[in-house]
């Protein structure tokens, strides 16, 4: 089964994972099915209910990806009462005695057509490792997109490669790694006549020592159509290493990249050498350099790991941390006239505005006091400011100006009023983990060197080609020559 992560196609297919995108950072993963396996009692078959409406899967299936789906009217209230225990037992019996398709059809009545609801919608998306990472069920700390994107890039994880991942955890890195090494489904290849050149298919070898988590990851990998690409192993890698079980005992995964998300990565390193001391196979690819990354939150862990890496001959040891933040950009409005507008701050937007406001307040207070002193009802006097305003030409001009201002404002639509500003989002992740990188070159023996010297004779240098010079060097030489000439000219 092709995976929706790698080859989603154009439309949603039954039994594949889809995401119902409700709002940013809030998407619900669901397996699309007409019939409801859990038998939750909806008339419409399988239904996903959300804060923003209910979506029978009949409205989600065979839709182009990315379509906006309108919620449906689904009776969520009465379904709890409906299935009687007795009948349920009978149903089960029925299903057991009749495992044929006919029996299934009877057990599963045709779902009712969905009725559009008056409000609510979602977007139907195919999953990507990024959207999955944002919506996956948490089991352990998650390796987020900014981290894994950099890790995979630095580990040179490319189509056709093999990567070892220890500490599968919540599976976010697993999915991203599967996408990075993907260059075809091995099972699809066997159906077609074998090509002349045997292609190496990329694979992810995932190790996890927590039995329950292993089961969950396996299940997920199967549901996501990635069985071909990801091999999940239940293993304590500190003790038992990274070799894969096979028909002949064990086989080497021949990995060219390693990601260790373990509490004590230094304990696993002894298995990751070119020539393991116990005479076992090496889990590393003998024909390529091997890149490693360990993911540890504490500096002490990093220091111990580095010490062991050095002892085992890893090179280019580098440690970095990734600082990532999301930025929100929106319009901010200030000004006294913006009262009643959502998100706007009612505050004078300039000194002029502040002064004119102060003037009008003073004016009002003065009139209030005058009216009070004259024994009139002050409130009633203030109710008719227009009359009073007409008396003074100055305030008339002010009113005209205010009107002009509001007209100008109204000609600008609301969405482009105010100033566009940006700031970091509220919740910052200031530290995820330290990323420690290193590389182990290929083994290079005296024999290899001798063979190489035979093929590429050390002495042989074509005289006419001469020394390869860099551009910079040639420029410098040209400049020196020019200067020399100039010097000669001066002398002459």
């Amino acid at each position: 089964m092709p995976s929706p992560f790698l080859t989603p196609g154009t439309r949603s297919q039954p039994d594949t994972l889809a995401l119902l995108h409700l709002r940013r950072d809030h998407a619900l993963p669901t397996i699309l099915r007409i019939h409801d396996d859990e038998n939750l009692g909806y008339k419409e078959g399988k239904v996903t209910t959300t804060r923003f409406g209910s979506y029978p899967h009949s409205t989600l299936l065979d839709q182009p990806w990315g379509t906006q789906i309108v919620a449906s009217k689904v009776d969520t209230g009465s379904r709890g009462r409906k299935p009687h225990l007795k009948r349920k037992a009978a149903d089960l019996e029925n299903a057991n005695s009749n495992p044929s398709s006919e029996g299934e059809a009877r057990a599963r009545p045709q779902p009712q057509a969905a009725v559009q609801a008056s409000s609510g919608f979602c977007h139907l998306l195919y999953p990507t490792p990024e959207t999955w990472t944002a919506s996956l069920p948490h089991r352990t700390q998650v390796v987020y997109t900014p981290d894994y994107s950099y890790i995979l890039h630095r580990l040179r994880v490319r189509p056709g490669g093999t990567i070892i991942e220890a500490g599968a955890g919540s599976g976010s890195f697993t999915h991203a790694a599967a996408r990075a090494i993907f260059n075809g489904y091995p099972s699809a290849e066997t159906q077609t006549p074998p090509a002349k050149k045997r292609r190496r298919f990329g694979k992810v070898c995932s190790f996890e020592f927590h039995a329950q988590r292993v089961e969950r990851v396996r299940e997920e990998i199967h549901q996501h159509g990635l069985d071909d690409i990801v091999r999940v192993n239940h293993r304590d890698v500190y003790a038992d290493g990274f070799l894969l079980p096979s028909e002949h005992g064990t086989e080497s995964p021949k990995a060219s990249a390693i990601f260790l998300d373990l509490p004590a990565p230094w304990l696993a390193l002894k298995h990751l050498t070119r020539n393991p001391p116990d005479g076992q196979q090496s889990p590393l690819d003998p024909s390529s350099p091997v890149y490693i990354c360990t993911f540890s939150p504490c500096l002490e862990q990093v220091q111990r790991t580095i010490s062991v890496l050095r002892q085992q001959g890893w090179l280019n040891i580098e440690m970095v941390e990734v600082n990532h933040h999301r930025i929100e950009a929106r319009r901010e409005r200030y000004g006294l006239e913006s009262e009643g507008i959502r998100g706007a701050t009612v505050f004078p937007k300039s000194v002029d505005e502040a002064i004119s406001k102060m003037r009008s307040v003073d004016e009002r207070a003065r009139k209030f006091r005058e009216a009070e002193a004259a024994g009139l009802d002050p409130a009633a006097t203030l109710e008719q400011p227009s009359q009073q305003q007409q008396q003074s030409s100055k305030s008339q001009a002010q009113a005209a100006q205010a009107q002009l201002h509001s007209q100008l404002q109204s000609s600008i639509p609301a969405y482009s009023q105010g100033r566009l500003v940006h700031r970091s989002e509220q919740d910052l992740k200031t530290h995820t983990s330290y990323l420690l990188f290193a590389v182990l070159p290929r083994d290079w023996t005296e024999d290899d060197e001798a063979k190489c010297r035979e093929r590429w004779p050390s002495h042989k240098v074509d005289s006419e080609v001469g020394v390869q010079k860099s551009k910079k060097q040639m420029k410098r030489e040209a400049r020196e020559q020019r200067e020399q000439q100039r010097g000669e000219q001066k002398e002459g």
Binding site: R156, R342, W444, W456, Q468
Partner: protein, 554 residues
């Protein structure tokens, strides 16, 4: 993968000064690394990457080998010793708190800050350099010897001093495979960063992930081929290279095991003879990159480092068939393009037979060029791309206006910019109030036209040109527009001296905008959840407030 150093490839040399030099490796030539020395290229071809070599001045071996491989143990020797002694770690032995220790802690209290501590003069050093042997080690030893205040230095400052001298005088180099990551850092740190829009390595990874760029696979799901990506790249081809790397079409020798390599080299005649079977340029259907470019020719100069020259492409390079280029004019207004619009006349075979061979060749070349442009442009205009990556000097909105409608549903849109302003403007163009206003205005327009059509019994199409003037991009086509940035912070990890690096390159931070292409329904819909909040006195405000999407604001 990069299993060994191949001839006729670009490789990178990391020098003791931490500088990188990129050199095209030709067999049987001499490679020069400036002041660090020369050596014959044959002495590194065929060797594995990441090895560190030392250039020997007096080759002792009989066959004239001038390079010595330095083992990892030797490279780490110093760190391993300090680690072992426990002096550096602070882990090995308890720190002495009593104060009356036998050996008092060395500090820099006594050190006099002037240059007189080095007793050797510049001339002496220069002379030593000329007559030096032993790959610069003796110079460093002499320098240390003649340093008068060496015994005052703390262990760490001594290490720092030695390292500085070593960087200057050691004749060592490390050979690194040239890949996108290395090239990005090289362009940023040592070349003209402006040419690649100051694109940083961590952002290349991030762009690739958000763009969901990956290999297209070997099965077809549905009617459309997998893995077709649209890109606008004004970084000289760096983004294209990064995408190609993720799609497995950047390195010609990728996925070639050593065995298969030997096999094919044994019988090369068979491979080259059926020349006609070679697929023509830009002919691949899946796993392709389509580049939109502003000028007549795209700028892909950086691809030369990966063996692909855009002016004279190598037919065996995967990019030859998988990289397609379309100019903006061909995309938006193909009829005015000189090649697309002018089909060369078809000349019947009989007439053709009378032509001279080179005239016939010209005819076929023109025909196939026209055919190629026609196919590529038509394919681009049909769209259904799997994602869009943009790194452009142009106004991003003008790019998205034309490119977003070419995407399939759920496809990712990623825009990179070295500075934030173009992207905040873009976020604003896709803001919720703007989207709401747009949707309402469009619905009103459509309804008005329908009403008019009914009354007059006509069938006029809806005129949206006025709307498009106000709204450069259709804000309803992108979901969850997000702006983010990532930056790495490197650390020094010497034993007992772990701390963040003291300085790094400033300049542009680099920002990434991403969103998802969607198909909005044409039906009138309301967001669910609690409807509008407490309504304030809005009558005084003539501006329409966003009525929907109140709760589902993204």
């Amino acid at each position: 993968m990069h299993s060994y150093i191949r001839p006729y490839q670009h490789v990178a040399f990391r020098l003791p000064s931490e500088a990188t030099r990129i050199i095209h490796l030709t067999p049987n030539t001499e490679v020069s690394l400036g002041k660090y020395g020369n050596f014959p290229s044959n002495q590194i071809i065929g060797r594995p990457f990441y090895l560190t070599f030392e250039i020997l001045d007096n080759p002792t071996e009989e066959n004239g080998n001038r390079l010595r491989i330095i083992t990892a143990a030797e490279l780490h020797a110093e760190s391993l010793i300090t680690e072992g002694s426990g002096e550096a770690d602070g882990e090995g032995d308890e720190p002495d708190v009593s104060g009356d220790a036998e050996t008092p802690m060395r500090t820099n209290r006594e050190i006099i800050d002037d240059a007189s501590t080095q007793k050797m003069t510049l001339q002496e050093i220069e002379e030593l350099k000329k007559g030096s042997s032993d790959a610069g080690r003796d110079i460093i030893a002499k320098l240390l010897e003649s340093h008068s205040a060496l015994d005052q230095k703390t262990a760490f400052s001594l290490a720092k001093y030695t390292l500085r001298k070593r960087r200057k005088y050691m004749k060592r180099f490390t050979v690194l495979p040239l890949d996108v990551s290395l090239l990005t850092n090289f362009m940023l740190e040592e070349k003209d960063a402006g040419r690649t829009m100051e694109l940083r390595d961590e952002l290349i990874g991030l762009i690739g992930c958000w763009g969901n760029v990956h290999h297209g696979g070997n099965v077809s799901v549905g009617p459309k081929p997998n893995g077709r990506y649209l890109v606008v790249d004004e970084t000289g081809g760096l983004i294209v290279a990064a995408m190609a790397e993720r799609m497995g079409i950047l390195y010609p020798h990728d996925n070639e095991d050593e065995e298969s390599e030997e096999e094919s080299s044994g019988k090369p005649a068979e491979e080259t003879s059926p020349a006609k079977e070679r697929p023509s340029q830009m002919s691949a259907s899946g796993n392709t990159i389509t580049l939109l470019h502003a000028h007549t020719q795209p700028n892909l100069s950086l691809l030369k480092y990966f063996g692909y020259d855009q002016d004279n492409p190598d037919e065996s390079h995967p990019l030859f068939t998988h990289l397609k280029t379309v100019s903006w004019m061909q995309l938006v207004d193909p009829s005015s393009d000189p090649i697309y619009g002018n089909e060369p006349e078809i000349i019947p075979d009989e007439t053709l037979a009378t032509y001279k061979p080179n005239k016939r060749g010209t005819y076929y070349r023109k025909r196939s060029r026209w055919q190629r442009v026609r196919n590529v442009v038509d394919e681009a205009r049909t769209g259904e791309y799997d994602s869009l990556l943009v790194a452009t000097l142009m106004e991003p909105a003008s790019v998205l206006k034309h490119a977003v409608p070419l995407l399939a549903g759920s496809a990712q849109v990623v825009v990179y910019s070295p500075t934030i302003e173009p992207l905040t403007e873009l976020i604003d163009l896709y803001s919720t109030p703007r989207r709401t206003t747009f949707i309402n205005a469009r619905r009103e327009l459509i309804e008005a036209t329908q009403k008019q059509n009914q009354e007059n019994n006509t069938d006029d199409p809806v005129d949206l040109s006025e709307l498009e003037q106000e709204f450069i991009v259709d804000p309803s086509l992108l979901l969850a527009p997000t702006l983010e940035t990532a930056r790495i912070r490197p650390w020094q990890v010497l034993p007992g001296r772990t701390h963040p690096m003291m300085s790094k390159r400033g300049g542009a931070d680099g920002y990434v905008f991403h969103g998802i292409r969607t198909f909005p329904t044409q039906a009138k819909i309301e967001a669910a959840g609690n409807p509008s909040r407490k309504k304030r006195r809005v009558e005084t405000n003539p501006v329409p407030l966003p009525a929907e999407d109140v709760e589902m604001k993204s």
